[in-house]
Amino acid sequence: MSEEKVENKEVWTPRIIAYVCNWCTYGGADLAGTSRKTYDASVRVIKLPCTGRIDPLFLLKAFERGADSILVSGCHPGDCHYNTGNYHSRRRWTAFRDLLEFSGIDMRRIHFSWISAAEAVKWVDVVNDVSEKTKELGPYTEFQRINEKIKEYDGIFAEQG
Amino acid sequence: MKIPYYPGCTLNTNAKDLQECAEFSAEALGFSMVEMPDWNCCGASLPLTANSAMGYAGPTNVLIGAKEEGQKEGLEDKLVTLCAVCYNVLKRTNYAFNKDAAKLDTINSLLESDYKGDTNVVHFLEVLRDDIGFDKVKESVSKELKGLKVAPYYGCFLLRPHEEVGLDDPYAPTIFEGLLKSLGCEVVDFSHKGECCGSYSAMSNAENAAECSFSVIDAAAAAGADVIATTCPLCQYNLDSKQAMMKKNHGDMKEMPIIYFTQLLSMALGKDIGKISFKSNSINPLPLLKEKGLV
């Protein structure tokens, strides 16, 4: 049992979910690809049209589902394909970040950036930085502990029929 | 107002007369410069090269000393210098620290200190402009230096590198002019106010240094100046003492007195000319001052 755990720990790679806008950051990530810039493979990108589409619920759900870190990224101010989407989302994030921090979320696990379609290097740097930091922090156990507990309960209920 | 003062080596030794003039002026204008205890050389002779920890240790020690002295004695939270070179070195040290925290960490561990790169370094001219105000200086002038055509010479250290020093526009500065105007001088604009006097090659290639200095004097003379005023004791020395050497190559050259700005300032603020020592000036300015009716 304990051996298994040690082994698990060795193969652990962070699970990072990135919510990015289609026009800037997704383009920047594509450009990193076309420029063959290598970076850490732990990030999984979910593409939205605009950062304005990114709902706080997405971030909550990602943590619930075991994300170790979250990256949210879009166009620089003034560059939004939809003119003002990123300005509105910036306010939303300001409040939501505060709420997460207040409620005890580890803020080292949630990152925000502006990355334009031209900033392949920045994309690479940010992703590497987030991965590196997450690796230093290790798995995000707060939610995982709850998840395990819930699983346990579900087991008990199942047994009881 | 009491400001921690860093004299630097030159003003405390060879050019002590220039410092006395500054002290007199400060008093006349209602502030005092408190010489910080136990100071060391700013490191002007150890240039701020990229990886020279030693180059930074000297100035950092000075910056820390000023901060501590200021706090202990309840002085203004800044550090005033008279010498343009000291000013340049100290200011650029802070700039380097603010750009590169790792550098600061290295020096801090070397000095076993906790310096934050935040000692506010100002040149005496800045105190006059920003804290006293040239209007106030003008009011305090008891003897206007009317009719004296002065070419303000900044040299290189006070203005450059602009992004690191940031005292004034490197090509169209106004601070020195502002002061001289408030003293009643006629300010002469000339092309070489920010050129180098050649001090860096004064030891290795004196001839070259003399040539650099000559071009400055020549440009000032062409612009009609009676005298060049400097903000740096080193420039003052170079422009002044090398004139004999210049004459060898430029026979028709007319001697020009080189006056340190604190000398002019103290004169205007009422210091008895008889009490001003011109020992630092190898071209005696007195005949000229007499001619202009200022003595």
């Binding site: 306010r91 005890g104 309960y153 | -």
Partner: protein
Amino acid sequence: MESLQSKAKELIKDASVAVIIGYAAGTKKGKTKPFFAYSEEDCEKLIFTPECVNNLTIYLTRKFDFMKKGKVAIVAKGCDIKTINVLIQENQLKRDDVVILGVSCEGVVDKDVILDRAELTADLPEDKKSIKCITCDVNTPSDFDHLFGEGVESKAIEPMTGGIYDEVDKVRGMAQGEKWNFWMEHFERCIKCYACKKVCPLCYCDVCITEKNQPQWIETSAHERGNYAWNIKRAMDLSGRCTFCGECDRVCPAEIPLNLLNQEMAKLNYEAFDGYRAGYQTEEKPPFVSFKEDDDEGFIR
């Protein structure tokens, strides 16, 4: 109170309003209850005392049918009127459709306090007041059609300080893990009864996100995961809107300190968005549907 009753009668008599929403004595000692006066006779039961803690503005929302009956009069404290302002701002109410019977108020009782008769007439001591009253600066309502009670000078307070905000600061001061444990201990008790949602005058959606299962953003089970999501979602939705009537906190059977969450958001909005405070006006757009180009973005790289 006679004047409140007589004004109410007058409004009913000349049919200016269909109903008057107010307070009447409760059946339990120390409690009052919401009361709806349709007749002049009913109006005699209307009272206003420091026991009138409820925020009656919930009856102005689409959760109830009162607004369909015609023009409505409501007995409202200064704090309740803030809710009315937000409802107007959010297109849920037209100012002309409601007659505000504003009452001056020096504070209402805390949910855990039962007052004696004698105490009812005396000045209410601070420690028996509801926590929202400690930081109240609308003792005399800002907007009303008729005002009752002696005019009380509204306190000049420094916004977002004292009272609940001291508690908020305490939580802010905790370490991250401490905060997490603090909230998890509370959320663990949540039984998903949704009383907080039911009582909130600003939770007026016809179909709540909790009632949707495609997708199931908020899990139905009352475990910490679902409870965390629910309480965070609710706090987020009330960000820039909550007027601190404190009703959710008052009704929570699990005694989760919901005021803390909502007032943290209120404080954040005040700090981050140019001193915005919900409920103080009806014209300005709330923070989440407006922006400034130079809003702070220190957290974004």
